[in-house]
């Protein structure tokens, strides 16, 4: 859909974003030393740090991506929420305290505490840098998605604005201000989404059977207009096209019992149903309940369980996307109205990614699901920007307390996301071409105020998370890679300076990648980041903490193998062929049988560590 803006929304947005930035600069003005810049002097209060944990973690992916996936595919989006939260228990029970006792500022410090080896430091820092970049991409994509409807700017502009703002935050303030941005934003996000869920429950559902219109074969044959001869790529998908007198091209899909009218979008040529995309000729907003249980036409003021059980017994109209590679017109996206049972949407397997879960046979698709759940479980404890937060509070007890506060806030928010996503599914406000926009558009269905607030909060979400990530990445460069290259540690002032220069470079790199990947679901991208983090970092981290036989060569080899194998696998997967390279037949083009590598690459990294450690053991004793 085309971007549209409102003055009120822009004013609220600017005021909120300005306030958060102002506070962060004011609070961060004292952080001059390396300890202050990278770890906030270890003086952040545990509760503030806990909510900041939530702020860091509830990124654009959690907010926009999970809501969007739930709104489009139902329960499958919630699977991510479950996996993201589960990862925190690995962090709390297994990694948090020993790690804190070992380290100073960065993940590489912690790994290197036992050996003092430059090779470990450099590999761990490289891994931090790459994982941070992978995680940065979806955040930048999320920024672009937000700015598009709010300020009426193209998606690329959003990515660039966020890039510059974050570079400003990180280079002027460091960890103190980043923590406060995350605290304010984490609080606002949870509070406002709770209010929004209360509004969703009060509004409930209204039956709109007229949204789904199917005509029989006779009526289809009698339709006016010129029948277009379509390429095989259209007819294979049971699609026919009719050109009307005004030039509009209707696309009809043959379904059981007749034909339904689809919407089409040619993103490159900017055509909707064959005519230029304008506010008057744009994709229609979608998402409605066709049939409620029993004879009721509407269900209002529902309790949370009534909301879920009502939707489960209803029929919902969804608009799944099919891409047609037309030889003359290029890529045309077709959105076909498809009624789906609520009970089907509220169990795993509603999306194309996990559709294998609906079947009884064991297929690659099921292995993909297990692999993703494993990556989410193991990934959290290996994310550099989460790990550095263990050094911002004063002692081990504060680490535990802040982690528990973080888990509670994140868990509560994830429960909210299910209602937000399902609320959006029935809101009639969704953009069929962008599932990332579902949460803000849901808010818009309640008026401009909620819309502007949601966008402002989500935008600061992106700012905060990106700031944290860039800080982690620049910390790795300044602290570890530079030291590795120069052969000695930098002094305090030089470290902060190198960190700031690195922040600018990483920020610019992230902007470029954000524009390159702008069409992908942000949640899916985060899933990949978790795969890479879990494969590269977790085996080394766990073995160094719990196996005495670990050698420095083993650690460096494990990180390298985990990193290379997981990224390599992702780049050869069906999902990459479809969304990154945009190939016509991604399933056949893919070199590997499933998209999520963790189930193979985590054990591979463990095995590498053990074998290399055993082989090099004598030399190190």
């Amino acid at each position: 859909m085309l971007p549209s803006s409102s003055t009120l929304a822009i004013i609220i947005f600017m005021a909120f974003a300005g306030l958060v930035l102002g506070i962060s600069f004011w609070l961060g003005r004292k952080a001059k030393s390396a300890a202050g810049y990278f770890a906030a002097h270890g003086e952040v209060h545990w509760f503030v740090n806990g909510i900041a944990f939530a702020g860091d973690y509830l990124s654009a992916a959690s907010f926009l991506g999970i809501c969007g996936m739930i709104a489009f595919f139902g329960y499958d989006g919630f699977l991510y929420a479950i996996g993201y939260l589960a990862g925190w228990l690995v962090a709390l029970f297994v990694v948090a305290e020993p790690l804190r006792k070992l380290g100073k500022f960065t993940f590489a410090d912690a790994l290197d505490a036992k050996f003092g080896s430059r090779s470990i430091k450099t590999t761990a820092a490289l891994s931090t840098l790459i994982v941070s970049l992978f995680y940065l991409i979806p955040q930048m994509v999320g920024a672009g998605v937000l700015v598009k409807p709010l300020l009426g700017l193209p998606q690329e502009a959003g990515v660039i604005i966020v890039g510059f703002l974050v570079i400003a935050i990180v280079t002027t303030a460091g960890m103190v201000s980043t923590t406060w941005v995350q605290f304010i934003k984490g609080t606002m996000l949870v509070v406002f989404c709770t209010i929004l869920v209360a509004m969703i429950l009060a509004r409930g559902f209204t039956e709109k059977p007229g949204d789904y219109q199917r005509i029989d074969a006779a009526a289809f044959a009698a339709l006016p207009g010129e029948r277009l001869a379509v390429d095989k790529v259209w007819s294979d998908k049971q699609l026919s096209r009719i050109r009307l007198a005004d030039g509009r091209v209707q696309t009809w899909k043959e379904v059981a019992g007749g034909y339904v009218l689809c919407q089409t979008l040619n993103k490159k040529a900017k055509l909707v149903d064959g005519l230029p995309q304008t506010p008057a000729n744009d994709l229609k907003q979608v998402g409605s309940v066709l049939d409620l249980p029993g004879d009721s036409k509407e269900a209002r003021n529902l309790s949370p369980s009534e909301f879920l059980s009502t939707l489960q017994d209803s029929t919902v109209l969804t608009w799944p996307e099919t891409m047609i590679k037309d030889p003359k017109e290029g890529d045309v996206f077709v959105y076909a109205p498809t009624p789906r049972k609520g009970e089907e949407l509220l169990t795993p397997g509603g999306s194309s990614t996990f559709k294998a879960l609906k079947g009884d046979e064991f297929t690659w698709g099921k292995l993909d699901f297990i692999s993703l759940m494993l990556a989410l479980f193991c990934g959290t404890a290996s994310l550099p920007h989460i790990l550095i937060r263990y050094y911002t509070v004063k002692d081990a007890s504060a680490v535990r307390k802040s982690t528990v506060v973080g888990i509670a806030a994140i868990g509560f928010f994830y429960i909210l996301t299910l209602f937000l996503g399902l609320g959006a599914m029935a809101s009639g406000a969704m953009d069929p071409s962008s599932n990332n926009m579902s949460a803000p558009l849901l808010a818009r269905s309640y008026g401009e105020w909620p819309f502007a607030l949601v966008c402002a909060i989500a935008f600061t979400t992106v700012l905060g998370t990106v700031a944290g990530l860039i800080l982690a990445a620049s910390g790795a460069v300044a602290h570890d890679i530079m030291a590795g290259l120069l052969g000695h540690d930098l002094d305090e002032a030089a470290k902060v300076k190198a960190g700031k220069i690195a922040a600018v470079v990483v920020g610019i790199l992230a902007m470029g990648l954000g524009i390159l990947f702008k069409d992908m679901n942000v949640n899916f991208l985060v899933g990949w980041a978790f795969n890479v983090a879990a494969s590269a970092n977790l085996p080394a981290l766990l073995m160094i903490l719990f196996w005495k036989g670990t050698t420095k060569q083993g650690v460096a080899a494990s990180i390298s193998v985990g990193l290379i194998s997981s990224i390599g696998w992702i780049l050869c997967s069906e999902q990459a062929c479809k969304d990154v390279y945009k190939l016509a037949d991604p399933a056949n083009a893919a070199l590997v049988p499933f998209s999520q590598p963790a189930i193979l690459t985590i054990p591979l990294a463990f095995l590498t560590l053990v074998l290399v450690s055993l082989a090099t053991r004598k030399k190190t004793i």
């Binding site: 329960y75 929420a81 099921k366 868990g411 994830y414 299910l418």
Partner: protein, 76 residues
């Protein structure tokens, strides 16, 4: 260098709580993969098993982490 890691009783307690969660999480994955029909079964208030189990995993995470915090707080 390893003596400063404090891999004592408290860590074992953490690992025991962790094992409990792994069972609940692994059970969810197993049922989703092997018996998807069970996930659609309505229980209690008319909402299906998938939703109940998902919420329970979130609640369990908060509960176990709180138990761990209190227990470790008493140890110190």
């Amino acid at each position: 260098m390893r003596h400063d890691l404090d891999q004592g009783q408290t860590s074992r307690r953490g690992l025991a709580l962790f094992a409990l969660y792994v069972l609940a999480y692994g059970g969810f994955m197993t049922v989703a993969v092997c018996r998807p029909d069970l996930m659609a079964k309505k229980i209690g208030n008319g909402v299906n098993l998938a939703i109940h189990w998902g919420f329970a995993l979130i609640a369990l995470a908060v509960l176990l982490s709180a138990i761990y915090m209190v227990a470790k707080g008493k140890d110190e």
